[in-house]
Every structure is written in C-alpha cells, then in structure tokens.
C-alpha cells in the first residue's frame, strides 16, 4: 500500500514547534502511528496518557487497533498528539477553586466520576460540570489573588489501582478490618482520608478544605454574587450544563479552563456521614448558597432557621476536632460515658436544683411591675417563694416546664434579660416572664428552662454546653451592637447568614434575636446532625430540586417554563407565574427526541401527549435531566453498589451514544 505523509502536532514540543511528519500507509493502525511519532520525537517519557485528537472531526482516536483507513484519515487531517488528562480549574460548591487533572477524552460522565473519586465524593452520577457564570471583573478585584488549591500532582484516575494498592499496604499494617472497604466499593480511607491526601501537609490542607464547611461569607460577598431574580433567570443557568455523553474537548473546553462542579440531580442517594464527609460538606455548601442567593425561595421563618443552622454549623465546625476516622473504640467510650452520665443523673436527681433570685411577672397582672421572688429549679419544674428563708416550705406556685415554649427577650445593650415562657394549660397558654439580673444568671436559667421544656433535668449532660452556646450568642449580640465586629471566631455578622433581602429589611441587631429564637431548637445538634437537618429542611422546600427551562409548547405562541423535578415535570405560565400543570414520571410512558428540529415529545398514561422545543437550553440538556432522574430512581432497586454507567448513557445519551 502506498505510503503518504501525515503531519501531527505534538503538544509536548511546544506550541511553536512545527508538526512532526511521519510516513504512513492507510492500513497502519493508530497504535502504530503513535509508536512512530514517539520514536521520531526522541523524547523519553511516559506517553501512556497521550492520544491523537482529530481537530476537524472533533474526535479522539482512542481505538488504537483501528486503521487510519477505518477512521477515514487522509493526509489533510490535522492531528494533535497530547495527553488525555489536562489541568482544569474546578469551582467547587463551597466557592473554592481547585486545580486538578481531568480527563478530556472520555464522556463528561466519566470525567466527573474521575474527579469525584479523587475528591472522595460518592455517587458521582448526581454531579456534573457546567460553564460558570461570567463574573463581572472589577478593577478592585484584580489584586485579590485567589488562592488556588492544586491537586494536579495527584496520580491520574488511571492510577487508581496504584492508590488502592498503596492503601492496601498501609491498611494492612494498621488494621485488617479496613480491607472490608474494598468489598463494598466504599472509598478506602487512611486516617479518614483517601490515601492521596495523606502524602503531604499541603494535601491534607486540601482535604480539610473539602471536608470542613467554610465560615459564613461576608455580607458584601453575598451581595456581590449574581442572584437570579426570576424563574427565567433561573432557567438560564441550566443552559450551561455540559453534555454528559461527550468529552470536554468536544465541548470546546480548553486546558486550564474554569468549570463548576455542582450537584445536578436533586436526588441524594444513601448519604452516610461516615463515608460521605466531603459529599455532605459540599452538598451543604451548595444548599447554603442556594438559600443565600435565593435560588430556592423560602419564608422568613425558614430563612431564620437556615441562619441559625449556619451559625451553629460554623461554630461547631470550628470548635469540634474533626472526627476524620471513625473509631470503634471511641464509640465504645462514648457509650460508656453516656451510661455513666445516666447513672450519675439518677443518683443526683435530688441535688439537681439551684437557687437564684429572679423577678417574675405573670403577664395578666400588671404591666409595669416585676415582683421579686426566690426561685428554685428542681427537675423540670420551677417553684417560687416569697424569700430565700421561706424556700424550705411550700412554694407559692410550682410550674412544670415540660412541653412549654421558651423564648428569649434579650437586649444586651440595655441589660434586659427576659425569658418568656409559654406554658400550656387546660385553659390555654400561660405567659410568664422571668427577668434575670445579669448575663450569667440569664444563661443558666435559659439553659435550664430549655432543658426542662424538653423534659430533661439540670443533671443532663447538655446543661453546660447549653449555657455555653447561650453565652456565645449573647456575645454575638454584643459585638454586633458595637458596630465593627472584631474578627474573632465568636463574632459572626448575622447578615452573613441570610439573603441580601433581609440585609435591607433588618439591621444585624434586629436579626440576632430572631435567629436566636430559631437557634434554640438546633443548638444541641452535632455537626453531622446539623448538616443533615439543613439539607432536610432545604429538601422540604416546595421549590426544591426544580430545574427550570424556558420552552415553547407545541401549538403555543408564547414562552413558558418547564420545571424538572426529581419526580415530576411542571408547566409554569409566565404570565400567571404559577404552576398550571403537573406531569409525573410515574405516569410517563415514553419520551421522544427529534434531533433535527430539536423538539421533545413526551407521552403519558391516558393518551396525554406533550411536545415542546427548548429555548434557554439545548434539548439534549432537558433530555438528560429527564433521563437522569429516571436513572436516579432506578438506583434504589439496584442491589450492588456499582454504577450502571451503560444505563445512564442509554437514558441520557444522544444518537451518537447508540
């Protein structure tokens, strides 16, 4: 067969270097081309990650056994010889940018799998990549050099085996039990981290960034961020998702480009805090920003609760030493301590009282006067007496606080420390105010009241920590009222915890008591529980999980919005701004995509057919969302932990995938 010249640009020779020309025949297979090429360059290095990219066809030549003829390559083909993995700037849900090597040659679905494996995020099918929203570059921002965490040195995903072997070795030395992790496809951890994070302090710092929640952002940072103002605005973001069935190169992504990694499908399967430290943290970060930027609407009460949880999470995350590794011995110790506490509580139940003078006013009496009484706290009840001397005898009244509502009414500046108790009684609720003299007294009594309302006595182990959290919240109010908050970890501007709408509506000083109000219900949660609670409330919002696309229904003359949820599709009339129709996937029979006219048609039970073309996003994106959600719902049935990649592509792929 006749030989002809094929010129290939070799990236490693530099951009100025001329293409390398080799003599080939049409029956030469791609592997042979690469071999010739490498020989010609005279460079000794590991070429295993390199492959040929055909520029005109926008295609990788990955089948090394295929001949040039089979690929249809002639002398005019512009070929590029380069690594398949390239560095990428990845914006994480927590707002931090990470540099890492990702595959530019395999479908984005696999690229994401590789990234998630590196970052130790399970269930990568829930995430995807999207093109970031262009940030408005202001001159001031230029000098703000962004700290970029670099993960490019981590062995490539092809080196996973290496990591595992490495890991295996370490584990073997330490603890044979860890080997079981392999069997259940859970990431195998060393010291609570994937092995490649243990290499150096820098790497450990990266892992910390991934697995520990970020402190609340400054209010200005929140205000500066782009906020979608309408459903249509929200729809535009969904046009940015990359195509899961094609590779990065094919979608015009260049080396060192910036992409966002986000949870795309709002169906979070099997969250297991033990193994999902990074996943949980990043999910929380994404949820937090969704709330702060009003990506998901919520009510004021809900916003305050989100604020309280954020405050709590940031506080606990800073104070709590990260329990990176799950240690059985620790668990045992904990339970032993618990039982000890229970024992002590039982023994000390009679001693669990303490006396302070507080003033007290049943609301129905006078408006002005607080009368001073001697108060005694015992178990879950408060009793009061005329004076300390009389406290041995019968109290004037005894009030059981079990099941009552406790609310603070505090103003540090004017030294007002009121505890408002709403005590249920057959006739209705009794309102009682306890006025404390100072912060110290207030914190103790408040803590006691809260515990009592939950039916716990003062002997409960949480009493001291409850006092502590109340005091720290008081401290927060103090710093806020003084204007400039010193940058201590105790002080958080409450504007950092709510969306900009409330910055305008309330001063930080006004916001504090409201958040404090919500805070009392969450103050006892552990870090993990608080994160889970945040996600739970987020997921319970009516608009949660809705991805919007502007579409044009067949036969309609105006644009409407299609909302894609984990279990249904909704049609929103832009004029009314309201949901006009809901279709559930449960009733879906089939959907069709016409790639020529970019139209989707969906058929439901009962001969319901809808068809629409997509305006703000390609129909491939819409198709992928629907297919993706159906894929997500199949997971629970799947017994094995392995990801059924083939099925995903079948459900979401375009015609090239078939």
């Amino acid at each position: 067969m006749a030989a002809w010249d094929l010129s290939v640009t070799v990236e490693d020779l530099g951009s100025d270097a001329p293409p390398v020309t080799i003599s080939v025949a049409s029956d030469l297979h791609v592997g042979g081309v690469i071999l010739k090429l490498v020989e010609k360059t005279q460079i000794k290095r590991d070429w295993s990650d390199h492959a040929l990219w055909w520029e005109q066809k926008q295609q990788w030549l990955l089948r090394t056994a295929w001949t040039l003829e089979k690929y249809g390559i002639h002398a005019d083909a512009r070929l590029l010889f380069m690594p398949q993995h390239k560095p990428l700037k990845l914006g994480l849900p927590n707002g931090i940018t990470l540099r890492l090597r990702a595959s530019f040659s395999c479908p984005v679905f696999q690229t994401v799998m590789g990234i998630c494996r590196m970052l130790n995020i399970r269930h990568p099918e829930e995430l995807s990549l999207l093109r970031p929203v262009e940030e408005k570059k202001k001159k001031k921002d230029k000098d703000l050099a962004e700290e970029i965490y670099d993960l490019t040195e981590v062995p490539l995903s092809s080196g996973t085996l290496k990591i595992q072997i490495f890991n295996y070795r370490l584990s073997e030395k330490l603890d044979c039990n860890r080997l079981t992790f392999f069997a259940v496809s859970r990431p195998c951890l060393y010291n609570g981290m994937p092995a490649h994070f243990v290499d150096s302090p820098q790497m450990e710092a990266i892992y910390k960034m991934l697995s520990v929640t970020q402190p609340p952002p400054a209010p200005e940072v929140i205000a500066k961020q782009y906020r979608p103002a309408s459903v249509v605005d929200k729809a535009h973001i969904n046009g940015r998702w990359l195509d899961s069935s094609r590779c990065l190169m094919q979608q015009g992504i260049q080396e060192n480009d910036r992409l966002w990694l986000r949870f795309k499908y709002a169906a979070f399967y099997d969250i297991e805090p033990k193994y999902d430290v990074v996943r949980l943290t990043q999910l929380y970060e994404q949820a937090r920003w969704a709330i702060l930027l009003e990506d998901v609407d919520c009510t004021e009460e809900e916003m305050m609760l989100f604020g309280a949880l954020q405050y709590h999470i940031s506080k606990v995350a800073q104070s709590e030493p990260q329990m990176l590794s799950t240690n059985a011995a620790m668990d045992d110790l904990e339970s032993a301590l618990m039982s000890l506490e229970v024992k002590m509580e039982g023994e000390n139940s009679s001693a669990s009282e303490f006396n302070v003078i507080v003033c007290f006013r049943p609301k129905r009496l006078t408006l002005k006067g607080y009368k001073q009484y001697w108060f005694k706290f015992q178990d879950t009840s408060i009793s009061y007496f005329k004076s300390k001397e009389e406290s041995i005898g019968e109290p004037i009244q005894q009030i059981n606080l079990r099941g009552c509502e406790v609310a603070p009414d505090v103003n540090v500046a004017s030294q007002k420390f009121l505890i408002r108790l709403l005590i249920p009684a057959p006739e209705g609720m009794n309102e009682v105010y306890l006025r404390c003299e100072n912060e110290q007294q207030y914190a103790q009594w408040m803590a006691a009241c809260r515990l009592a309302s939950k039916g716990k006595s003062l002997a409960d182990s949480s009493f001291q920590s409850e006092i502590q959290s109340i005091r720290s919240f008081l401290a927060m109010q103090k710093t806020n009222s003084h204007g400039n908050a010193p940058a201590g970890d105790e002080s958080i501007n409450t504007h950092s915890l709510v969306s900009p709408r409330y910055h305008k509506k309330y001063k930080p000083k006004q916001l504090t008591p409201r958040i404090l109000d919500a805070y009392q219900n969450v103050a006892q949660l552990s870090l993990t529980d608080a994160l889970m609670r945040f996600l739970q409330i987020w997921q319970a919002l009516p608009d949660f999980g809705l991805s919007y696309v502007v579409v044009r229904f067949k036969g309609s003359r105006k644009d409407e919005v299609l909302g894609i949820a984990p279990n249904r599709l909704i049609r929103i009339d832009l004029g009314v701004g309201d949901v006009v129709k809901t279709w559930r996937y449960n009733n879906m029979k089939q959907w069709n995509v016409n790639w020529d006219i970019r139209q989707m048609a969906i058929e439901f039970d009962g001969n319901v057919n809808i068809a629409f073309s997509c305006v703000t996003a390609d129909c491939k994106i819409v198709h992928e969302f629907i297919g993706g959600y159906i894929f997500m719902s199949t997971r629970s049935r799947e017994k094995s932990d392995t990801l059924n990649e083939e099925l995903f592509h079948k459900l979401t792929g375009g015609h090239e995938a078939l």
Partner: protein
C-alpha cells in the same frame, strides 16, 4: 361471699402457675380476680376484728428505705367514680383484675419473702385493693364513706394529687378507716416515687357500651389497640382507632398508633368530660389506601391501580426525606375571640401553615406564618355551624394538646367541603409525623394480614402490602398479572392492558435495558413503561412515534 370462696380454691392453682411464668399474669384476669377477692376477704376479716394490722416498728424502717420506691407502682384511676355510680353493670371485674395484676407484679419483683419491705408493700396494696372493694360492696349504702375515701374523687386522675392533702383524712372517725388511710398515704408516697405510671381508663365503644382497662404509661396506642382487639373479638382491621373526643370543645382526634396513650390522657383535666372511643374509622388510613387523592394535590377524586399506588407511596415515603403534599387554598379562619369567619389563602409547608397577606402574591418570602406545627395537634371540629356559626360543618382545629377549654390559642379553620378538610388534615399529619405515619400503617396492615391468615386458613389469597380489603376485585386482577405471570403467555405482546403498561417506571427501565431502542428518521424514542411487569412476555418495543 360464698361465691368468692368457691373461686378461691380453684384459683390458688392458677396462682402457682403464675409464679412459674410471670409473663402470663395478664392472661386470665378474671380468675385472678377471684383469687384476690379471697385474699382480700381474709384481710377484711382481720381488719374487722380490730386487730392493729401493721406494727409501727415495721413502718419506720420502710420510710427510710428508698429502694422501696422501685417496688411500688404509681397508678391512677380514671373515672372510677363514674364507674361506681353506674351501679349494676359496672365492669369492676376487669378493674379489679388489673389492680391485682399490679400486686402480682409487686410480688414477683420482691422475690425475697422475708424482706419486710416487700411484705409491707404487699400489705399496703392489699389494703388499697381492699378499700376499693369495700367501696364496691357498700356502694349503695355509704355515700359518706365514698366521699371521704381516697379513691372517690370526682373523675380522679393521679393518686399523688390526693396524697397532697393529708389533713383531709384526719377528719375520719372510724379507727379502722384511719389506719387504712394512713397506710394508703404511705403507699401513695411510695407510688409517687415510682417509675411506672398506670392508668385505669374507660374506653367507649360505638354501641354506647364501655370497657374499663388498665394501661401502662409505656404503652403506645397500637399496643392498646391490639389488646382491645384481642379482648373484644371484633375482627381485625387497620381502621380500628382510639379517638379522643373533647366534648367541651366539640372536637375529636384519632390518636396515631405510635403515640403514647397515657401521655395524651394525662392532658385531660380532672373534671373532664372527654371520652376515649374505640371505633373503626376509615379516615385513619384512607391516605394510604387511596394515596392519589391526598398526595397529588388534585382537587378531584380518582382511581388508581394498586401497583401505582404502591409506587406513589414508595416515592413519597420511601426516600430519605418525606415531602409535604402540595396543599393550598382558601379556608375560613375564625378570628381570635371574634365570632366572624374570614377567608384567607392558606399554604402548607414543612415549616408550618402560612397564609398570603392581603394584597400580596403567593411568593414564599411574603408569606405570613400562621402556625408552626411542632406543638399543636390537628382535631376535627364537630357541628361548628351551630356552635360557632361556621360557614360549613367541615372544620378543623389546631391546638396544643394540653389546652382543654376555650382559649385564644385554639385556631379554627373551616373548609368548603369534606374532601378539602380531609386533605388538609392528612397533609398536616404527614407534615407532623412524616415516615412514622407510613410505618404505622404498614405495621397495622401486617397485623391485619396475620389476623386474616389465622382466621381463614382455607383462603389462599394473600394480600399485598398496601392493598386494602375494600377493593378485592381490582386487586385480584393485578396480583394475577404481576405475581403468577404464567397466564399471560397466550396474549400477544401488543395487546397488553393499560394497567400493566403503567407499571413502576423504574422497574420498567431496568428491563428496558434488555431491549433495544430503535431510531427512525433521527427521532429517538425513550420508552419508559413500555414493558409489562415481566419483560419476557413482551419482547417487542412499542412503535416509535414520529414527530
């Protein structure tokens, strides 16, 4: 008395058996009752002799013994007065039996017979029971005795309350009574310290009759229901409910199966007219029998295939988080303290009930929180059209369970029709209890299936999880299609029935991968439920739709 001594003999054996297996203690209460009457009889005699029964030196150490508290049981008597006043057909047998069972427990705990404390506890309890018995015997005669006794309080609730007023007792004239009273006082003091509360309750049945039974403070509504069902032989159904009716406020609530019964009953006031009903209520689990009417936010009722119901329930309750059904609309609200009812647009969210303020749109951020659901329960208001001049009789009430009288803290809402009312009530239940509600239902179904299997061993049809017995026909259709499968072999792939097609989509998809997708004219088809429950039957895919 003759009758009693007759029984005494035969029950002695019973008692020995009890000692072998203390778990059986509740099994045959009537027999035990007889045994105890016998013992009590003796005690009565001894007391009547005028012998001072408890020597003082025995009493003194007991007071110091704190451990004693563990052996005593706190219990309360609910509405015993009412029971006593009812005269002849009082169900005192059961009551006595329950009291005896307490004593039984006490004696099994105190295995050391020599221990003075246990002996005394036994004695105290005997006295206690005896005093009740005396009241029973002398019911028509001595009203005065009733008045001054511990146990005759108007709808007495917890006995410790009574213990707070010892001066009351000292006015007693008879020596024996005084001694008894003193003993009881000591017993009550110990009972107060005890860990376990017991409550004697009266349960009203739909046929105006009632049952008296004792419940343990740890018992859930489900457990109480089970024992009631066992006793009443009324046939098992998941619809059996314990309903709390608050007469004064004209409202009622079905207790949820997971709730603690005693905790709820303790919210009642002493002079309460409240009743506890044991009846069948279809609305208790209607939500799970026809989920499509509650979970889809639809206005109209509709039918749904059983398989789809299961899929819907699985979707709503099977995941890690339960989503609140979309519930919103105009309701009438009774303004605080006013007689008028005003229309407002209400929305249900996981965080509570909200309404849209005047002149605002439905945007989340503008909603005003009407009520958070943590501390309130939802009740069904009865006959509010005449009581409160409500627009309709379909009213629900939200209030703290402890509130028992008219109060500004009670919120009244009125719906236009019964459907809306039931949708709201059930949606609020889902919001409050989440997955627990579904677990309750599944548990109830499991029990009814077990009962069903027992009662009709001959019948071969076993029902699947959430299918109700109310739809036997449609259900058998489905089970034959989905379970047996074989019968379908004759039918061709193209004549499958609609109901089979619309099977669980995920299920279908899993099988969908076994087939292939055909493309035509660049139109790609993605069949969801194109396959029946068994992929083998229908190898062909539906034809591709052309656009």
């Amino acid at each position: 008395m003759d009758q009693v001594s007759d029984e005494e003999v035969e029950v002695r054996e019973e008692e020995e058996e009890e000692e072998e297996d203390s778990d059986k203690e509740d099994q045959d209460l009537d027999k035990m009752f007889g045994a105890w009457l016998g013992e009590l009889d003796k005690l009565t005699q001894s007391l009547d002799d005028g012998r001072p029964e408890p020597p003082p030196q025995q009493k003194a150490p007991l007071r110091q013994e704190t451990n004693m508290a563990n052996f005593s049981y706190r219990f309360s008597i609910y509405n015993i007065n009412e029971a006593l006043n009812q005269g002849d057909n009082v169900d005192l047998d059961a009551l006595m039996a329950d009291l005896c069972s307490i004593e039984q427990e006490l004696s099994t705990i105190n295995t050391k017979p020599n221990s003075s404390s246990s002996g005394l506890a036994r004695f105290l309890l005997n006295c206690h029971i005896q005093s009740i018995r005396q009241q029973i015997n002398s019911l028509p005669l001595s009203l005065s005795l009733l008045k001054h006794s511990y146990l005759d309080r108007e709808t007495s609730l917890i006995l410790r309350n009574i213990a707070g007023k010892p001066s009351h007792l000292l006015t007693k004239e008879e020596q024996a009574a005084k001694l008894k009273a003193e003993n009881i006082r000591v017993a009550l003091e110990k009972i107060k310290e005890a860990q376990v509360k017991k409550l004697v309750i009266r349960v009203h049945l739909s046929d105006e009759s009632s049952k008296t039974m004792m419940v343990d403070e740890r018992q859930t509504v489900r457990q109480v229901l089970d024992s009631l069902l066992e006793k009443s032989h009324c046939g098992y159904s998941a619809d059996w409910s314990l309903v709390e009716t608050i007469n004064e406020l004209q409202m009622e609530r079905i207790f949820e199966d997971h709730e603690n019964l005693v905790e709820n009953l303790l919210n009642w006031t002493r002079d309460s007219q409240n009743r506890l009903m044991f009846t069948e209520r279809i609305e208790k689990y209607a939500l799970f029998k026809n989920p499509q009417n509650y979970l889809l936010g639809r206005k109209e009722t509709c039918e749904m295939a059983e398989r789809n119901k299961e899929a819907l329930l699985e979707e709503c309750f099977g995941g890690s988080s339960v989503s609140v059904p979309e519930m919103e609309g105009v309701l009438w609200l009774k303004e605080d303290g006013k007689k008028s009812w005003k229309k407002r647009y209400f929305l249900l969210r996981a965080s509570g009930i909200y309404y849209v303020p005047k002149g605002k749109a439905k945007a989340s951020r503008d909603l005003v929180c009407f009520l958070q659901l943590d501390h309130v329960n939802v009740y069904l208001g009865q006959d509010y059209k005449s009581k409160y001049k409500a627009p309709t009789d379909y009213c629900m009430v939200l209030k703290h369970p402890q509130i028992q009288k008219k109060s500004q803290y009670i919120k009244y809402l009125c719906c236009d029709d019964i459907r809306t009312l039931q949708q709201w009530i059930n949606s609020i239940r889902i919001t409050k209890y989440g997955k627990q509600l579904y677990t309750n239902f599944q548990e109830a179904m499991r029990r009814s299936e077990a009962a069903y299997d027992w009662s009709s061993l001959s019948s071969s049809s076993i029902k699947s999880g959430s299918s109700s017995s109310s739809l036997p026909e449609s259900q058998s259709n489905h089970s034959s299609q989905s379970d047996s499968g074989v019968s379908e072999m004759t039918s061709s792939g193209h004549t499958r029935s609609q109901s089979v097609v619309s099977s669980i989509f995920s299920d279908a998809w899993r099988r969908g991968t076994q087939g292939e997708v055909r493309t035509h004219k660049n139109t790609q088809s993605f069949p969801v439920s194109s396959l029946c429950s068994c992929g083998l039957h229908f190898p062909c895919f539906p034809s591709v739709n052309l656009i």
